[in-house]
């Protein structure tokens, strides 16, 4: 039956993560953006919530409850707190989810690492540092050479948290995207810390791969390989939800400010120009969220979700940018200074068009 109500269990998760985002993440958002550092303590606390582990197989010590729908609910709430910190919290899934879904038995043994009591960051290298980076057609290549694969190319926006030991690198093998587990210390792998306009709390790296050799067993899924299109779509749906989260953060901040801020003797929120702008934000946010939900629901049915994931991501990244920009306007001069959050939301929101697979559901 068509329905828009999360299950009771999901509602519990939503409430928990919402509180966590408000009480633990949001207060650190500005500080982490300025210092360009991820807050270790918050990550540890978040890890204890088991948001990623719950979705991993029971055999690996996880909760066995992988659900893209639950994933988008979590992703949105975390991103309301802060996008960069949210991505850091969800990073174990970047390795763990694809391994759980497509990995060989051998590869799955590594899952316990991500489901364990200590936070273990994951990393997935998808985007490439060129203006026309094409997630369906990576230019990074993987060539079989005897019992090894040789990887060549470059990647950017690669989450690169302290403690990352393995990165899943997406490369075209005979024109088809596949993923390869590469050690952080592999010969030929270079990693340069990046500096971008936004998402500064998340450490990311630009990778260069020059003849990086990995054993054949390092290919995700072994001989069978993996459905990287599905992983990409899982990423797009996650990012769609997180764009909704960023939009919501900007909207809520602007709404509260508009009700408080007095101009010409009345709250600016009583001015139609501001009130209607806020109304449009609210409508667009809800609409984008439902698109993300539908795409997630379709992912959970195991169907091809290329179209729905594209629609959801396009819509929500547009909405995030417009809402964040609108929030800056609502704040007026204060929107431009870094004592308030809207300018950060704007910088973060602008990234989504070029983000791919920074989180998965």
């Amino acid at each position: 039956m068509i329905d828009f109500q999360p299950t009771d269990e999901q509602q519990l998760v939503i409430d928990t993560v919402r509180d966590f985002a408000a009480n633990e993440i949001r207060p650190k958002a500005r500080e982490c953006d300025e210092s360009k550092q991820v807050p270790e303590k918050v990550i540890t606390l978040a890890h204890e919530l088991g948001l990623v582990a719950n979705a991993l197989p029971e055999s690996a010590g996880g909760g066995g409850e992988r659900s893209a729908v639950t994933g988008v609910l979590v992703a949105e709430e975390l991103a309301v707190g802060d996008l960069g910190i949210a991505l850091a919290i969800l990073s174990p899934g970047l390795c763990a989810y694809p391994i759980a879904e497509f990995g060989t038995e051998e590869q799955k043994k590594g899952l316990a690492h991500y489901a364990g009591p200590r936070f273990a960051p994951g990393s997935l290298a998808w985007v490439e540092p060129r203006f026309d980076s094409d997630p369906f057609r990576p230019q990074t290549t993987a060539r079989r050479d005897g019992n090894e694969y040789v990887l060549d190319g470059a990647k950017c926006f690669v989450p690169w948290l302290e403690g990352t030991d393995t990165v899943l690198v997406v490369a075209a093998q005979d024109g088809v995207p596949q993923a390869f587990l590469v050690s952080r210390t592999a010969a030929g792998l270079g990693a340069e810390p990046e500096r971008n306009m936004g998402v500064l709390a998340l450490p990311t790296a630009e990778l260069t791969l020059s003849g990086v050799r990995v054993p054949a067993s390092a290919r995700l899924g072994g001989d069978a390989g993996a459905d990287l299109r599905r992983v990409l779509n899982q990423g797009r749906v996650a990012l769609a939800a997180m764009a909704v989260g960023v939009a919501r953060a900007a909207f809520e901040t602007a709404r509260d400010y508009a009700k408080e801020r007095q101009v010409f003797g009345v709250p600016v929120a009583t001015k139609q120009a501001i009130a209607f702008k806020l109304a449009d934000m609210a409508i667009e946010i809800d609409a984008a969220r439902l698109l993300a939900w539908e795409a997630a629901w379709k992912l959970d049915r195991g169907e091809d979700t290329t179209r729905e994931a594209l629609l959801a991501k396009r819509q929500s990244q547009r909405v995030a940018l417009e809402v964040a920009d609108g929030a800056v306007q609502v704040f007026g001069g204060h929107g431009y200074i870094r004592d308030y959050l809207p300018e950060m939301h704007l910088r973060n929101a602008r990234g989504f068009t070029c983000f791919e697979a920074l989180a998965l559901v």
Partner: protein, 408 residues
């Protein structure tokens, strides 16, 4: 309960049935009744009435808890067929919603049961007045109780009454008229009354010539000492004097009809928008133009991006519509969500149909195809049942928790 986009079997069969009507009894007559403005489209009305009253009847319920969602799905389908003809459906329409929402069981039986038998008939709702516009609280039509006869006496002029002419010129039809029983009470004095076809003192003085939905009769009604029985009042006669910022239960109750009708209007919009988008995609396919959902960034065509954005906007509007409808099925208050759906759908579909005309170049602008008509039809959804701006206002008040006196 869980988040799901899986329609009930009943919803799907209801949709399919409507699709059949749309294809066979609406599309073939679309252009004819666009040109022959206001003529009664019997080619559509008769089979529609037969289905509604025949054995098995129209399934208007998708299963437990999915009634309004199914209505929206079916409405979309019929308006995919033709929004103008849909508005000439022989049914109680908005008048029926008002009776169903505010009427007693006896009133429901009295006014709605004729719609299950006999000849085609229509219902309508008359709210807007020449000088009131969006300001429903400013209604000037009066209803005075004649204690001698225990009749209400109505006087006033109503405009923009959809299906008003059909409702009053066919036996068994009726119009729900909003009027004030006490102007000094403001909104508190506003009540709704059922005026049946054949009642003396009400007459249709004309139908608007419109941009689109020309098959629909948009009537101007004049009530001159129009007398109706006491029990044609929907709800209670009692007037609650309301100060401006709270109270108004009576008026709010009346306005609540909109919470139920706005998702349906949104569904109508989605139907028209889908008609245009479907056609554009089919035509592009016929012309050998493919829409890729995974095109390389530098090679995506402007047309591809347009179509993808149209699809996203249409689906966004549809999902907001279903959500607002589902809340009714759950018995939840949906005032905010209904206005969100209406505002989004009206605007999205205005843009989608305008873009559809553009994408088809000279063909889109020509009356040889229906795309230009869909653009004209679609625009009504941005206007009636509260304009885009009125619905934005409602949304703004809700999200800001402001009363209508603070934010106006």
């Amino acid at each position: 309960m869980a988040i799901s986009f899986d329609a009930n079997p009943g919803t799907i069969s209801g949709r399919d049935e409507m699709h059949d009507i749309a294809v066979n009894h609406m599309r073939p007559w679309s252009r004819k009744y666009d040109v022959q403005e206001h003529d009664m489209p019997w080619e559509f009305v008769n089979p529609m009435w037969d289905r509604a009253t025949g054995k098995g009847g129209l399934k208007l319920d998708g299963g437990p808890g999915d009634g309004m969602v199914t209505v929206c799905v079916q409405t979309e389908e019929l308006c995919w067929g033709d929004a103008g003809l849909y508005l000439r459906s022989p049914s109680p329409l908005l008048g029926g919603s008002a009776v169903a929402a505010a009427g007693t069981p006896e009133q429901r039986e009295k006014f709605l049961s004729p719609f299950r038998t006999g000849k085609p008939k229509w219902g309508a709702m008359a709210i807007t007045e020449p000088q009131a516009g969006s300001d429903a609280a400013n209604i000037q039509t009066t209803a005075v109780l004649d204690d001698d006869t225990n009749e209400w006496v109505l006087n006033g002029t109503k405009i923009f009454c959809t299906a008003g002419d059909a409702a009053l010129s066919h036996d068994g039809g009726f119009v729900v008229v909003w009027a004030t029983v006490d102007k000094s009470a403001g909104r508190g004095g506003i009540k709704s009354f059922v005026v049946t076809a054949g009642t003396k003192g009400i007459k249709v003085v004309g139908c608007e010539k419109k941009l689109g939905i020309r098959a629909s009769d948009t009537a101007t009604l004049v009530l001159e000492n129009c007398r109706i029985p006491y029990n044609h009042l929907l709800g209670k006669a009692e007037v609650k004097k309301a100060d401006d910022s709270k109270g108004d239960k009576g008026f709010k109750g009346a306005m609540a009809t909109f919470d139920a009708s706005r998702p349906i209007v949104a569904a109508m919009a989605v139907g028209v928008g889908r008609a245009a988008l479907d056609f554009v995609k089919e035509e592009l396919t016929r012309q050998g133009v493919t829409i890729r959902y995974d095109s390389p960034p530098t090679q995506q065509t402007a047309i591809e991006r347009d179509v993808i954005d149209m699809e996203a906007e249409l689906q966004a509007a549809r999902l907001l519509t279903w959500r607002a409808a589902k809340m009714i099925d759950r018995g939840q208050r949906n005032n905010l969500e209904a206005s969100m759906a209406k505002a989004k759908a009206g605007l999205a579909v205005t843009k989608i149909t305008q873009k559809a005309v553009e994408l088809l170049g000279p063909l889109g602008y020509s009356q040889k195809l229906l795309v230009e008509k869909w653009m004209r039809d679609a625009k009504i959804n941005d206007i009636y049942e509260g304009t885009q701006q009125i619905n934005q206002l409602i949304v703004a008040r809700r999200i800001l928790d402001y009363s209508s006196s603070v934010l106006r």
